[in-house]
Symmetry: C2
Subunit: 278 residues, 2 copies
């Protein structure tokens, strides 16, 4: 099968989580998909070194590892555990040969109403993790999550907030993840993408579409490319105008897609990518 | 029962929609609640003039009418119908004796991915409705809705966007609604509240708390005051520092509250208001 149109396409593993790592690697080979974004849990289950060999032998590039983060705890023991876990995530990213670890920053600790304080604790943690990541050739990519996740998953809700954090550190240590699903509603996001580009801080670019109604808990409602309201070419244009020319990952959490045959979903996702990007 | 602490409290009718208008008015009298925010559908069912007499005779003040808006249609006939319906909403507000009509601007028309265009159509509509409202002594209050509603309910997602629209018109025609539920996550909102205050554009202030998990469809997940993560006193401080001294409405859409006895919910809501505001 031709790879034309898929050179920059990366399939995020979560989109087809029904596939085992070996199944995913085989399916990518069959479909001409050359890049994958991986998740820590399946990588740990398969073993980081074994995973690295599996993807390398298949000629696949690992574009990102998802995910580190959850850096908002107040309790000292919890904070120490989170930092240790993030160092392990950096180690795993280095083993896999990807230079980008995506960070989901974490929500409010139980009982807290202090968003500002939570964001400052993330900055403190980045001050420790950034140099560690640099020594391992890994960049941290803060992912602003849609504001509907602000309390329970990620207190960093906008690219502006993510850049306010990232810019306290060198760009080769800390940048941002631009994911259409999280920023599409924000009329200030294009200017923030330009800001990120000027600073060399667009560390990865991900696509998912916005569809409604949102499911209970809202986590698994990320729509297949083209099924929703997001103009993918426009957002691709914003990041490319900002100087980004790297891989474009499609990352979908969607119960409907997970219920289907994983190879079929991968083929559909690759086709939608070709149709809706340039 | 003492009214101490409740002088500024307004119960938005939707919070206790299980109560009929006469039941609501009686319950307010029994509990010392002096202000109500009403919704068009129950008002129309009871009759606007009859409703006005009912609340006036009970000594209640109508703080807002919810809601006009839905001004994003492209189709000329749909646009004309929306404008006519909003003129009727202005008439109803005037009949009820409230000076504030809350606007939920509307989502993307089917098949459209153009947020900017939708926002511009809202501006066009406000240019027609603002002078009409002024002639009837009514102010339009654009309510930015949480970004999770951007596609299907309201393309105006932030106070900054709402003010960018409102400031094209005189403040006595168009201002904004500040609702904690929709803006709590936004670190730029306090500065935007100050901007709104400087312009005399805080036309109403509403409270609801943010609780998770969000229910399917996310519309009916607004939490009782004190049950969630929002620091109500902090937000009250922002609007008061910006010069707002008007009523404070509690507006909850919550299946759990709707399943309970309405008088009990009203009493609880008043108690929570006293506990969590200053």
């Amino acid at each position: 099968m031709s790879t034309s149109g898929l050179d920059r396409f990366s399939i995020n593993q979560m989109t087809v989580k029904q596939l085992s790592l070996p199944e995913l690697v085989t399916a990518c080979g069959d479909l001409g998909v050359r890049n994958v974004g991986l998740w820590r849990e399946p990588v740990q289950a398969h073993g980081p070194k074994a995973t690295a060999k599996l993807v390398r032998d298949a000629g696949l590039t690992v574009t990102t590892l998802c995910r580190g983060g959850f850096l908002t705890a107040i309790d000292p023991r919890e904070r120490a555990e989170a930092l240790a876990d993030n160092r392990r995530a950096v180690d795993e990213a280095a083993t896999l040969g990807t230079d980008t670890l995506v960070l989901v920053s974490g929500g409010l600790p139980a009982g807290s109403k202090d968003l500002h304080g939570a964001r400052e604790r993330i900055a403190d943690a980045l001050g420790e993790l950034g140099p560690y990541a640099e020594r391992h050739g890994v960049r941290l990519a803060i992912e602003p999550l849609h504001p509907m996740f602000a309390s329970d998953r990620c207190v960093v809700s906008t690219l502006a907030q993510a850049l306010d954090l990232a810019e306290r550190f060198p760009a080769h240590q800390v940048g941002v993840t631009v994911d259409t699903y999280h920023v599409w509603w924000d009329d200030t996001a294009p200017a923030q993408i330009a800001r990120a580009g000027r600073g060399g801080r667009i560390h990865t670019f991900q696509l998912a579409d916005w569809t409604t109604p949102l499911p209970e808990g809202v986590l698994t409602g990320r729509g297949q490319i083209g099924d929703g309201v997001i103009d993918m070419r426009a957002w691709q244009g914003y990041v490319e105008d900002a100087g980004y020319s790297g891989p474009i990952e499609v990352e979908l959490f969607n119960d409907g897609l997970w219920a289907r045959d994983g190879r079929e979903v991968l083929a559909e996702t690759a086709a939608r990518f070709t149709e809706h990007t340039r």
